[in-house]
């Protein structure tokens, strides 16, 4: 079949391995451009992570010393712990809340399309700007509204122990928009008959959810969780808007640290090593999730 295809396409009897020249013209320019602006910078980053390059001036190779230093750097370790902790909490909350709302939207309610439209609004809004709106809310409004509550009467964004909470709230607020829509699409693929059959067997309510709904939408859970983890591990906009990594460096994410150290701190090489570690962690987490959440895939 492929032979006929090629023959029709080119009008000649060509080797199965090679396509018509036009197809190569459609691909090569993009491979070259993609390599120039993506692959080569990535390889350059990895290369410079083995140097002492500051972003300017002379440099020489230093072997693995940037990596060794990273593991002894409290600031770096803290930013990884914070980022991973934040990503886990935000991912769990996003998926539990979104699934609950999607289940409600899929039930017998009025004005479903209107509510679906409302829940999706945050998707089209800028994370940075949402962050600024909430920054004012948490730092100015909350202390006035809850002036009697000990923890909330002060600006929670300047509280070393609790500043992560508003960051999680803002992140989840926006991430739910996309997740709800995906879960709703998933729930709508489940045929009604299955629930009828199950209710005859006595499976209703939470039992039906656990034994029917959840297994059938597992693919959608995978999509949401993998995308969430990947995005949250690179959290930047909301942190810049809410705390800028502070107080101190309590809420400094890895990306913020790479940005600050790499561009203004003269740590081009060091932060390149940092980015390489982040890359490995994100890849590792994605693979683990795909294996764990989706055991039937090969």
């Amino acid at each position: 079949m492929t032979m006929t295809q090629t023959r029709v396409a080119t009008g000649t009897h060509r080797n199965r391995r090679f396509a018509e020249t036009t197809y190569y013209w459609m691909v090569w320019p993009f491979i070259i451009l993609f390599a120039i602006f993506h692959t080569i910078p990535m390889l350059a980053g990895i290369f410079f992570s083995f140097t002492n390059y500051a972003g300017y001036g002379k440099w020489h190779m230093v072997g693995f010393s940037n990596y060794v230093n990273l593991f002894g750097d409290d600031r770096v370790l803290h930013s990884y712990l914070f980022t991973i902790f934040f990503s886990l909490v935000a991912t769990i909350l996003t998926n539990v809340i979104s699934l609950a709302i999607a289940l409600a939207l899929n039930a017998r309610i009025k004005a479903r399309n209107l509510f679906r439209g409302i829940f999706f609004i945050p998707y089209v809004l800028s994370m940075l700007i949402i962050g600024y709106v909430f920054q004012f809310f948490f730092s100015k409004s909350v202390p006035k509204i809850f002036s009697a509550v000990p923890l909330l009467r002060d600006n929670v964004l300047t509280n070393e122990h609790w500043a992560w909470v508003p960051i999680v709230i803002v992140t989840v607020w926006q991430a739910c928009a996309f997740a709800i829509i995906i879960y709703l699409a998933g729930l709508q693929t489940i045929p009604v008959d299955i629930y009828e059959a199950a209710s005859l067997d006595g499976a209703t309510g939470f039992k039906a959810f656990r034994s029917i709904t959840l297994p059938l939408i597992m693919g959608y859970v995978t999509i949401n969780v993998v995308l969430n983890i990947k995005n949250f591990m690179q959290a930047f906009d909301q942190i810049v808007a809410l705390t800028d990594g502070g107080p101190g460096m309590a809420t400094e994410s890895v990306t913020l640290q790479i940005y600050q150290g790499g561009f203004t701190g003269g740590e081009f090489a060091y932060q390149s090593a940092d980015a390489a570690i982040l890359f490995l962690i994100i890849t590792f987490l994605s693979l683990v999730q795909l294996r764990y959440l989706n055991p039937k895939e090969d």
């Binding site: 602006f37 990535m42 004012f136 690179q234």
Partner: protein
């Protein structure tokens, strides 16, 4: 590879949002659950109240704001904040930059990634194209921070530390996702259509632009929506790539304004609303189309 696994995890039949009548479970009862409706309405306030809050703050004078929590509706209303924000953030300039970057990125993305995906999809049985496909796809899980520091050096050296550079980057960095979406969709378009045209002597380019590209319209919508939302709202790439203040995008202008007048909240909020408004208005009028486009991109 990883991303294709994610996407394949979804059952192929998932068809989008317009099939409630046959699918939405329990529809045959025809009885509305008012308690649940009320609960959903309350939950939807978590989205609407922050938006109301942003409007209420943007319409206050600094004195009105200082007196209350921010939630009170102002009396009298201060429209002047918008005029001030217009001037101080150089709004027309930032809007023009963002609009130009977004429109060019969307157009360029549609024109390039569809051609590329077509060439890859129709030759997937050939080693070169298969390798190229996975080369682009593998980039989906490479985080931007690892590319960030060197690419900023590079755009600086090439004179692309401006709007044109961002357009190039949005187009190229979107390839992984877009090629994946297009190739999946192309597999569902029957070959017979093209073969007939080829027998009549049409060239590959002609076949693509006259037969395939129009058939790709649903995916063009999806790719267009995803690229548009990304390019309009993105903050980190304009932040690191752009050097000229005149090239600032809307999110970047908010960041700079925040740095300069960090206590001028009422004017800042007016400028937030103006920056969010264009996309929000487009969304409100094309809600169903946008949502179905995004769903098509995620569950295909």
């Amino acid at each position: 590879m990883t991303s294709s696994q994610v996407m394949n995890a979804i059952p192929a039949k998932s068809s989008g949002m317009n099939s409630h009548t046959q699918n939405g479970h329990g529809r045959h009862f025809h009885r509305v659950n008012w308690w649940l409706t009320a609960l959903v309405a309350v939950c939807s306030l978590t989205v609407l109240v922050p938006l109301y809050f942003a409007v209420a703050v943007a319409l206050k004078s600094p004195e009105q704001l200082a007196k209350g929590t921010g939630f009170e509706w102002p009396n009298p209303v201060h429209w002047g904040n918008f005029a001030q924000a217009w001037v101080r953030t150089n709004f027309p300039r930032a809007l023009m930059n963002t609009a130009m970057i977004t429109v060019c990125s969307v157009v360029l993305t549609l024109l390039t990634s569809s051609v590329l995906a077509y060439a890859l999809a129709r030759n997937m049985h050939r080693p070169f194209f298969k390798i190229a496909y996975y080369y682009f796809l593998a980039a989906m899980f490479i985080p931007f921070p690892i590319v960030m520091l060197p690419v900023v050096k590079e755009t600086g050296l090439l004179g692309l530390d401006n709007q044109a550079g961002l357009i190039v980057l949005y187009t190229l960095y979107g390839f992984s996702m877009n090629i994946f979406l297009y190739t999946t969709y192309l597999h569902s378009i029957p070959m017979e259509l093209e073969e007939a045209a080829r027998v009549d002597g049409a060239s590959t380019w002609r076949v693509f632009w006259q037969i395939i590209f129009p058939l790709l319209m649903p995916m063009n919508a999806t790719v267009g929506i995803l690229t548009c939302v990304w390019a309009w709202n993105d903050f980190i790439m304009p932040l690191v790539v752009l050097t000229d203040p005149g090239a600032r995008t809307l999110p970047l202008a908010q960041y700079v304004f925040q740095g300069q007048y960090n206590t001028n909240y009422t004017v800042a909020f007016a400028s937030y609303l103006m920056a969010m408004a264009p996309l929000l208005i487009v969304y409100i009028f094309s809600q169903r189309w946008v949502i179905s486009g995004v769903v098509r991109g995620s569950v295909k």
